[in-house]
Structure formats: structure tokens, C-alpha cells
Subunit: 186 residues, 2 copies
């Protein structure tokens, strides 16, 4: 069941800000967060603090599978929040139910979704436009981000993304991947 109707306006473009990344401890978790953001239609991940190795790994995936997703390291996350030209939505189990803000989120042209780890600066609760809970139990920023993107934008369908070298051909059994030749520069 698609969660958006045909008559709906275009969904917002979404950026994600990940606060409090710990390069030594979180590499796989933040990689999952970045790949989920990309796969579910976000345009970019702002990563605080920056982590070049992680950005390179995600860039390699985007080169293979297409699309324009990017990881942007940010040293000053406050500026990213304060200067963002649209609603800033902090995902936290302590916030309001997602359903209460979903219509407004869908109507925005641009959204910034903010996710933290166990410890986020308390300031973000005040500077966000909304603090929104995806359920009110402790779970995972990857899960909260994924559900929010699905509810706001719906799931991307099958088919190659712009510039992709590879594309999945959906199967009821087994794996099928088609290689695509990239157009060479003119």
C-alpha cells in the first residue's frame, strides 16, 4: 500500500544530520544510517564530526548503484541546523507522536531530519522545529529514520538510478543484477 496518493504534491527533499558520530566506535552503525538515508530517498547526510573514511565508503556505493547522495562532514552542526531552509525535525523517543506532525512534514519543500546517538546535546530539543517520536520505546536511529523517510516519501520502486553501473532485477527466488554500461563523457 503506497503511503502517498497520486494527487499529493511532490514529497519534500530530505537531508539528514547525524550528531555525535564516533568514528572509532560507530563505523558500521553510521554506515547503515547513511545507506538507509540514501536508499530511502534522502539527498545527503550531514555528519558530525566529519569522517572521511565513511564518506568514501558511501561514495563507492553511490558510484555503483547511482543517484546523487552525498555525505557532507560538518564541524559546526549548529550552523547546519540554524541555516537550514525548512523544518528541522529531531527524531527522539521523548518527542510527540510522528502522526501528529506528518502532514506538516509532507507539505514542506525541504526537511532536515536530525538523529543522535545515546547522548545528544540538549540544545537540539530547543532549536529543532519539532521533536518527533517514532514510537516511544528505546530502539534505533536507523529504524526511526527509515520509518520517517517511508512515511514522508514512500519507498522508491525498482529500476536503475541515474548514473548507476548496476541495477537489481527483482526476483521471487535468488539474485539477479544487471550491469549497465556508463555513458562516456562527450
Amino acid at each position: 500500500m503506497p503511503s502517498r496518493r497520486r494527487a499529493d504534491p511532490a514529497p519534500p527533499t530530505v537531508s539528514v544530520l547525524r550528531l555525535g558520530h564516533r568514528a572509532g566506535r560507530d563505523p558500521r552503525l553510521t554506515t547503515h544510517l547513511a545507506l538507509a538515508a540514501r536508499a530511502l530517498g534522502a539527498d545527503r547526510l550531514y555528519l558530525h564530526p566529519p569522517d572521511d573514511a565513511l564518506a568514501d565508503r558511501v561514495r563507492a556505493v553511490a558510484k555503483t548503484w547511482g543517484g546523487g547522495f552525498e555525505v557532507v562532514g560538518v564541524s559546526e552542526w549548529r550552523r547546519t541546523v540554524l541555516e537550514f531552509p525548512g523544518p528541522v525535525v529531531h527524531l527522539t523517543m521523548y518527542g510527540e507522536p510522528l502522526a501528529r506532525r506528518l502532514t506538516a512534514m509532507r507539505r514542506a519543500r525541504r526537511l532536515l531530519l536530525v538523529v543522535g546517538g545515546a547522548k545528544v546535546p540538549s540544545e537540539i530539543y530547543r532549536t529543532s522545529t519539532w521533536n518527533v517520536a517514532v514510537g516511544h520505546q528505546p530502539h534505533s536511529e536507523v529504524a526511526a529514520l527509515a520509518i520517517t523517510l517511508d512515511r514522508v516519501r514512500g519507498l522508491p520502486g525498482p529500476g536503475a538510478w541515474a548514473g548507476a553501473e548496476r541495477v537489481v532485477v527483482p526476483q521471487s527466488r535468488g539474485k539477479k543484477v544487471a550491469e549497465r554500461r556508463r555513458r562516456s563523457a562527450p
Copy 2:
């Protein structure tokens, strides 16, 4: 927007099977997977191979926040799949679009959702009832599981779970948690 209508029958009870857990490498990722499964309404996580330390950590969360979720270590995952009394749905980017199987999944009384890491035994593609893709891009088993649970069961609302010691009181700003006295045994 709730994804289930009032007239729908009760949603299925859901178990999750996590294949190929690596206790040394995956502790945080599998913890996120287990907590997301619990927070989004699954009843249990079958974990292969077993990991007692992880099961203990999740049990501590369930003791504080309530509900009956459990982590069950399994040494022989094939038996879990073959003996499950309902559809077995393997989540993989190579499968059919989720939308194609969602109605059937919602009608089941019991569902087993199977998630693997980078390498899953190819056998699971044959022994599952369905292989289902939550988008067709590489991302995260935590994200795929979360979206599937949301689409099949909807998001749990606010309020204390059975036996909880603590409950979040949703706020538009800041954090509020209420402590609940547990009933002592008669």
C-alpha cells in the same frame, strides 16, 4: 496517517530471525535490530548463532520498559524456518517489491521475518515463503525490518507496556519519563 484501518483484522504476531550474527563484530548492530524489533511490536528475536550477552542486554531494556519481548538463541536456524507455523518472509534487496506481498503478510496470523547480514546462506532464498525487498538498493537490515514492521503492524502509540517500570510522557520540547511502581507479587 495510520497505515491500518479500524476494520482490519488483528495484525499478525511477528517473530524475527537474524542469521549470521557475529558476536565480536556486530554487537551494536544486532542490539539495534533487537530493540527495533521489540519497539515496533515483534514478539521475539531468534538469534543465530546465540549470544547470551546480547540477550541479557535486551532483557534489561525489556525489564525497564515492559512488554514480553525475548531474544532466543538458536543453533539450528533451519529448524526455526521449517517448523514456523506461518509465512516466512526473507527481507533482501533482490526480492519482490514489498507492496506485492503486503496484503498477504497482513492477513497472516503469524509471520517470521528473516534478516541476514552481507552473507546469507543461499538456501534461505528457496526455503522462505517469499523473498521481499524494502527498496532495491543496498542499505540496512535494521531499516528494512523497521519499515516492514511499520507497514504490517503500524506504530505502537504512547503509553506504558505491561510490567513497565518507566514510561515516556511525550513532549514537544525536552524529556519526560514517569516512574511506575511495580505491583508486588501477592
